[in-house]
Amino acid sequence: MSALPIHARTLAGLAKGLKQREFSSVEITREFLDRIAASQPALNAFVTVTRDAALAQAAVADERLKAGGAPALTGIPIAHKDIFCTEGVLTTCGSKMLSNFVSPYDATVVARLREAGTVMLGKANMDEFAMGSSNETSFFGPVRNPWNTAMVPGGSSGGSAAAVAARLAPAATATDTGGSIRQPAALCGVTGIKPTYGRVSRYGMIAFASSLDQGGLISISAEDAALLLGAISGFDPRDSTSVDSPVPDYTATLGDSLAGVKIGLVREFFDKGLDAQCEARIREALAVYEKLGAKLVEVSCPNLPLSVPTYYVVAPAECSSNLARFDGVRFGHRCENPKNLIDLYRRSRGEGFGAEVKRRIMTGTYVLSAGYYDAYYLKAQRVRELISRDFANAFGECDLLVGPTSPTPAFPLGAKTADPITMYLNDIYTIGANLAGLPGMSIPCGFADGLPVGLQLVGPHFSEARMLNIAHRFQTETDWHLRVPAAYA
């Protein structure tokens, strides 16, 4: 029997303990709830904590566990990014605009995890409408990095990543539009997976940029990610862009040998912007893979350096339209005493949205405007196509791409808020996968000056099983993913 304290266990470890009646769901749920409460002043990882509901769900889970035959995730407490609609629970998307919005329905991801038996601890903080790379745009205040609270946790799923890093929850849902799962996972030293576009339903996930958004997970290990991914994946008739293809058992192939696996190093990922220490950690990780029998090949994606400007046309364009529904009419923030319709729109939106959201709405409105559409939006779509082709060509020469997730480790709060371009460049290595709809992961691969460094994996469409296998084998050779910040050990 393991002597590990509850909070330090992986999700797989907790599932095992629950099954063996080592502890009850109520016990572990209470443990995590207490840790969340204690951490809030320092980390601010949660917007809402559903303590009573969580304990009630845990009690029900315990009954089911007692009865036997309960699903594998029964009784496992998790957190949901506050972008996922949760019935009867505040769903803010990190915005003042939705600071009063209680969703009348569950997102498909939430419903599927509930059906799988999980217990919801609460809603994780995030950048407003998922627009940000540092979690500083949240209306509910920034989230801090558990490894060093002077540092950002990354974003936009900063609350989810910080929560798992500080072991406030064994896992959390998250979303990734340009790196919003992988980048905070890297900066917080946890495992993050963004599945193939269409693998996980977007229904009930508040849209930022519909053609790029994809729901995924943040967890301690690749094994935990595999357990959860099986539960949230699959076709959803309510999302036309979800793909109707069978969901494999992602845990079945975790231990497969990597002998002969060809790992591609994208030349463009190792550019001058990459921090030297980060690069060193990546090179060390590559050595681990060579030891596991993988072969390293260098590949090139020549259009990849265009991914940031391409993204910052496509994503704002879609966001300018997606966020039009927040008009103060049916739900969300409404200004006091509107004089007329235009005043209602202007003030409700002016007051409800933060600066970064407004910047993107304006950028998006501009690039879709008559006379600019061809020069910006259409051109960006063409470049997007070229980037997709670059990846397809690269996958002709290798099974998976490996490189850095982020150019630097976590940076101090406030360091990049003044200059949006510097902030946007944080996602330079992650955006390509979104533009091409590819699955990606970030796994911990060491530290630079005491801050975690993430290794990014990017695979062909629907290669999640292989990607999880490749991540898992790394985690059987290393223990970076099991490191916990001292304050939360």
């Binding site: 996922f84 609609c85 769903t91 998307c93 939705l98 919005f101 969703s103 009348p104 329905y105 997102a107 977007r202 229904y203 009930g204 996930m205 508040i206 849209a207 940029a209 519909s210 053609s211 008739p237 309510r238 999302d239 036309s240 862009t241 364009a317 879609e318 300018s320 339209s321 966020l323 039009a324 529904r325 927040f326 008009d327 009419v329 049916r330 739900f331 969300g332 319709l341 729109y345 409105t365 879709l368 405007s369 008559a370 559409y373 939006y377």
Partner: protein, 490 residues
């Protein structure tokens, strides 16, 4: 000088009118185009609007395949090009009855492109009207003002109702042509059972683009768009008003400006709503929530097989099979129900299809109109009308008496034979009886007889009238003519 108030104004010869119509037909699907809410008309406000229709955070549209099939039916019926790949786009603008802040429509790649319809005008002239495109889109909700002082209510029951927008080429040259074309589309969508055609409920409505140009000029004049016309009468009146307004404006040295106008049926005039400068920039772009609509050959084949006999095919068949004029065939096939009714009458009478047509289009339609009834509510059914026509054909009654019988049938709901018997309207075909009546009339009118015989042929009508009067109108007209001619000749 024509004034704008004069809605029957004729276009002065030196001006030519150019009209294009954008017809919005609500598709008769049971649920909405992107959600599972019902589309039934008349429910209490916001009882048929679910989270998708309300544009709630996180919800997504899912295309109703039935709406696609209906659009394909229309496309095939107008001989159009069916686009194997069409794309939904977002039309972005803010309005309280538009919950998402954008309308999902089709923009660059519509499902139906390049078709045409032929209309037959009253004088028999035929005109081909090009149809540029027909695309699928969702309707918006409605703003409610009545009974809500100081506030605006919003009813989103209609939001998300499927529409097909049918855009014509600027091929129409008069309000009459525009109405004939709109009626033709109206007929077609009801034949195809893709739209109930109910104009009062807004299921079928149009925007008219109207401009004028000097006859012979190739370049189009500046157009005004008249929005939301929901009756054939309004279409005709609004267009005629607009033509007169534009000509008067130009004649008095002014210039037509490109703008959107509204027709006020109470005042019979169009009014400016917004100018081109005030027009929205809709920022169309492909909707990333919906995949392109891909039409497989098998689906197209299945839809083709499901098409009914179309109005033009039916009219052509009526014309050749029943010996009708093109115009009459067109009138009888204007609705599927009327065509079926006519064919029913013809089948039951078994001959004289032209006579049947005259009765269906004549007194029968006139009585329906008079009482404001729809065909299914008619007081005389096909069997009863066939019974009446049969009595004309077999000489039991004359055509003239038949009108009297028909009126009684309509009023009393009894078959023709019962009325003929009860009123003693059976035609006199007994030669002896008619001759006796003729002899009596001749004996009573010696003067007229003498005049006739001295060459006043016109008096023949006088004698016909007198004999008819004497027989209570029941003498068989053909027999009477023949016998009278003989007797008068002496």
């Amino acid at each position: 000088m024509a004034t704008p108030m004069d809605t029957t104004v004729a276009t002065p010869v030196e001006w030519e009118t150019v009209i294009g119509l954008e017809i919005h037909a609500q598709l008769a699907t049971r649920s909405k185009i992107f959600s599972s809410s019902a589309t039934a008309y008349g429910a209490a406000p916001n009882t048929q609007a679910n989270l998708v229709d309300l544009g709630y955070p996180g919800v997504l549209p899912v295309l109703n395949a039935e709406a696609v099939r209906m659009a394909l039916k229309f496309g095939l019926a107008i001989g159009a090009q069916i686009e194997r790949r069409s794309v939904f786009a977002r039309k972005n603008y803010f309005y309280p009855d538009l919950p998402k802040g954008y309308q999902i429509s089709q923009y660059e790649l519509p499902i139906v492109a390049q078709g045409s319809l032929e209309v037959v005008m009253e004088d028999g002239t035929r005109k081909r009207v090009g149809i540029t495109r027909a695309h699928l889109e969702e309707d918006a909700g409605k703003s409610l003002h009545e009974g809500l002082p100081g506030v605006t209510g919003i009813d989103l029951n209609r939001a998300g109702t499927p529409l097909i927008e049918i855009v014509s080429e600027p091929d129409l040259r008069s309000a009459k042509e525009a109405v004939a074309y709109m009626k033709k589309v109206h007929t077609l969508v009801r034949y195809l059972e893709i739209c109930d055609g109910n104009m009062q409920e807004g299921s079928f409505r149009c925007d008219a683009n109207v401009s004028v140009r000097p006859k012979g000029q190739e370049k189009f004049g500046t157009r005004a768009e008249i929005k939301n016309l929901n009756s054939f009468r309004y279409v005709e009146k609004a267009i005629n008003y607009e033509i007169a307004r534009q000509i008067e404006l130009i004649d008095s040295g002014g210039k037509v400006v490109q703008e959107t106008r509204l027709y006020d049926p109470d005042k019979g005039e169009t009014r400016s709503m917004r100018s081109k400068e005030e027009a929205n920039d809709y920022r169309y772009f492909p909707d990333p929530d919906l995949l392109p609509v891909m039409i497989e050959q098998s689906m197209l084949d299945a839809v083709r097989r499901s098409l009914p006999e179309l109005p033009d095919q039916k009219a052509a068949r009526f014309a050749s099979q029943h010996g009708l004029t093109d115009y009459d065939a067109g009138v009888l096939t204007a609705s599927r129900e009327m065509a079926a009714f006519y064919e029913d009458v013809v089948a039951k009478v078994g001959k004289e299809p032209k006579l049947c047509a005259n009765w269906v289009m004549g007194d029968f339609s006139a009585f329906l109109n008079r009482d404001g009834l729809d065909l299914p509510d008619s007081k005389v059914d096909a069997a009863a009308l066939a019974g009446l026509v049969t009595r004309i054909v077999d000489n039991t009654i004359s055509g003239k008496i038949a009108k009297e019988v028909f009126e009684a049938m309509w009023a009393e709901g009894k078959p023709a034979d019962a009325i003929i018997e009860a009123k003693g309207l059976r035609q006199i075909t007994d030669t002896g009886a008619i001759e006796t009546a003729i002899d009596e009339v001749m004996a009573k009118n010696p003067g007229q007889l003498a005049d006739y015989r001295s060459g006043k042929d016109k008096l023949f009508g006088f004698f016909v009238g007198q004999v008819m009067k004497a027989t209570g109108g029941k003498a068989n007209p053909a027999q009477l003519n023949e016998l009278l001619k003989k007797k008068l000749a002496g």
